[in-house]
């Protein structure tokens, strides 16, 4: 089988590293054929999680067969290369939905498991791994084993959130959730500052199955943290206007591609500020609840293909962290103040509430609030700022999300992920020669430091 040596990056387009790509089309070819290999689905992690500099990257995109869909029970079994975008048009017309979905549908099932992704409903429904009934893994010795929360649970919970380092995820069996329509009922509420925003997200009266808040990062002083909280749930078919037709088929939107890299100057404090004012007024001004197709609601950025090119050639870093409930407000406030003082603008800032910590040993979510910032890489000064943000996160007992990360230090990683030792016991038992590795695992010294 042919391999392709090529510069490769994650969704943030930073860093770019030369990797040796292999793209199997048969299930039997999902194997660790070299000393060091990492599986890569759609390459939607942002940093170096799915890179393996000067080593093998196994693309799973062609091993994407849906193997069984039990329409009565809402159980789907599919190969790990299958994307959520492929699954949705199959399940939604039959009255089922993904139990958890990240902000893009162009992700593979394997990636969702490896990063134990979360959605806007984490505070009600947990993360992706909580809905996985079983996995089939291809281990370093080539054996195929199945695992679940009850069968080889240590392997299962090391793999959920394990960034692909325990083996290749071959098949995923997922429990879906029932819906009666393809529409969401959404209610927006504006907040003039961070305190108001927290109050909105905490208020049990306002709470809904899905909640998320957008923050205007350029607002400072008394308006620091002003934003719009968005609440939603799956609309009941009985409450839809008949003009929409079949409730399980949402009217499709159009999609566009961003055809070129924006020059660096396009996104500056002024242009972002103008956008934020516009967005705050438009979204915050929606006083009444409204209906939205699930696509527009869950995947607004998927409508603009390759939106990552907006940040220019040098790419961007997405910084996402979580701060535990007890210190969440102070922690998030300190982060926003640090960002504001740095005069760097984040085009996209998202605040979400997370529920209880799950069982994945290296899973990101814990009960608290998570903040995500998109920061273009324009100069090395950015990394100094991010180190300062790490200190704030650590001081407040939080952690950084590995699926987004490109630059965390090994020491900070250890301090943020206390179950690392437990993870390593499992990793060593199934992968004693450390064959599953990535640029991220070497940077974070997971399973040892740099290899030769």
């Amino acid at each position: 089988m042919g391999t392709l040596i090529t510069p490769l990056s994650g969704w943030g387009r930073y860093p770019v590293q030369s990797c040796e790509l292999e793209r199997p089309e048969r299930y039997a070819d999902l194997r660790a054929n070299t000393d060091s290999v990492i599986a890569r689905g759609q390459g939607r992690s942002y940093g170096d999680a799915a890179l393996n500099e000067n080593d093998r990257v196994l693309l799973t995109e062609r091993v994407n067969r849906m193997l069984d869909f039990d329409i009565e029970q809402g159980i789907l079994r599919a190969e790990a290369g299958t994307t959520l975008a492929e699954i949705l048009p199959v399940i939604v017309p039959k009255g089922w939905f993904l139990p958890v979905t990240p902000g893009t549908k162009f992700v593979s099932l394997g990636g969702c498991v490896a990063a134990d992704v979360h959605g806007k409903n984490h505070h009600h429904d947990g993360s992706f791994g909580d809905h996985v009934l079983a996995l089939e893994m291809i281990l370093a010795d080539g054996s195929r084993v199945s695992c679940s929360a009850t069968k080889r649970p240590e392997l299962f919970w090391a793999t959920v959130g394990g960034m692909g380092l325990t083996g290749i995820i071959g098949e995923v069996t997922l429990k879906l959730v029932p819906v009666t329509s393809a529409y969401m009922k959404v209610q927006n509420r504006a907040a003039e500052n961070l305190e108001q925003l927290f109050n909105l997200l905490q208020d049990p009266e306002q709470d809904d199955r899905y909640t998320v808040a957008w923050i205007d990062c350029l607002a400072s002083g008394a308006n620091l943290g002003r934003g719009v909280a968005m609440f939603g749930h799956h609309a009941d078919a009985d409450h839809l206007p008949p003009s929409l037709g079949n409730p399980l088929v949402a009217k499709p939107g159009r999609s566009k591609n961003l055809p070129f890299d924006f020059p660096g100057w396009v996104l500056n404090a002024k242009s972002i500020g103008a956008f934020n004012d516009f967005y705050f007024k438009r979204e915050g001004g929606k006083q009444r609840p409204f209906l939205s197709g699930y696509d527009a609601y869950f995947y607004p950025l998927d409508g603009i293909g390759q939106w990552n090119r907006m940040y220019g050639k040098r790419g961007f870093v997405q910084y996402q962290c979580v701060i535990p409930d007890a210190s969440a407000y102070e922690g998030i406030k300190a982060l926003l103040e640090e960002l504001s003082a740095s005069k760097r603008s984040s085009f996209l800032a998202v605040l979400k509430r997370l529920g209880a910590q799950g069982s994945g040993m290296l899973s990101f979510p814990l009960a608290g609030y998570t903040l995500a910032l998109d920061l273009p890489v324009r100069d090395e000064g950015l990394f100094g700022l991010l180190d300062k943000l790490d200190e704030i996160v650590l001081r407040h007992g939080g952690r950084v999300y590995l699926a987004k990360d490109a630059r965390l230090s090994a020491a900070s990683f250890r301090a943020m992920y206390p179950r690392y030792d437990e993870f390593m016991i499992v990793k060593k038992s199934v992968d004693p020669e450390n064959r599953f590795g990535s640029s991220m695992s070497r940077r974070l010294e997971i399973g040892g430091g740099r290899h030769e």
């Binding site: 089988m1 790509l21 089309e25 067969r65």
Partner: protein
Amino acid sequence: MNDPILILGATSAIARATAGAFAARGHAIYLAGRDMDELPRIAADLRVRHGVEVRYGSFDAEATDTHAAFLKSVIEEMQGLSGVVLAFGYLGDQIAARDFSIGAKVIAANFSGAASILSHCANYFEPLKNGFIIGISSVAGERGRQSNYVYGAAKGALSLYLQGLRNRLFPSGVRVITVKPGFVDTAMTYGLPGLFLVASPQDIGERIARAPEKSADVLYLPWFWRYIMLIIMHIPEPIFKRLKL
């Protein structure tokens, strides 16, 4: 079953995409191939995605003495066929030119095996006065090049065979369509240097499934390969033989 289509050599990326495009049009599908681990996976996927009837079975292009019985069993199981797509092929490598034991395999898979199963398919469709046969040949079959002339010769022979078959079946109203793909992004070409204008298997599959609705007898995919080949065919031999192609 709804207008069943037989896909011969069903595990390649082009074949899988073609089967998907026919399934999306509501056709029942029969997948034939050697890899009995892969066939049930592809079959399950087509059922889940498109909700059509899909069967599969073992088929070896080189075992020509099994072809008659194989086709008979498929026709019985599917209660008839409305079309056949011949999608198998074997590239081999340059060694095929120097070592005829490999070259023989390339010819057996791409030409002899194809001619054998297609003769049975033609005999089935001819009296029905209905149906289509799509043969996936290659632009490599247009002109011999040092890099893969055994493969090219076998595919060229297949193109000629399909041309003759088209001529024979025309009075019966059975369509015979020759598909000549250029570079397609498949396991066969992945990582090869010097490729350009590489098409996705999905695009090719969609075009192939559309072919029976259109009138063209010979289909270059994507379309511009017709013109690339036109130029290549017109390079005079005294010059062509000096080129490193």
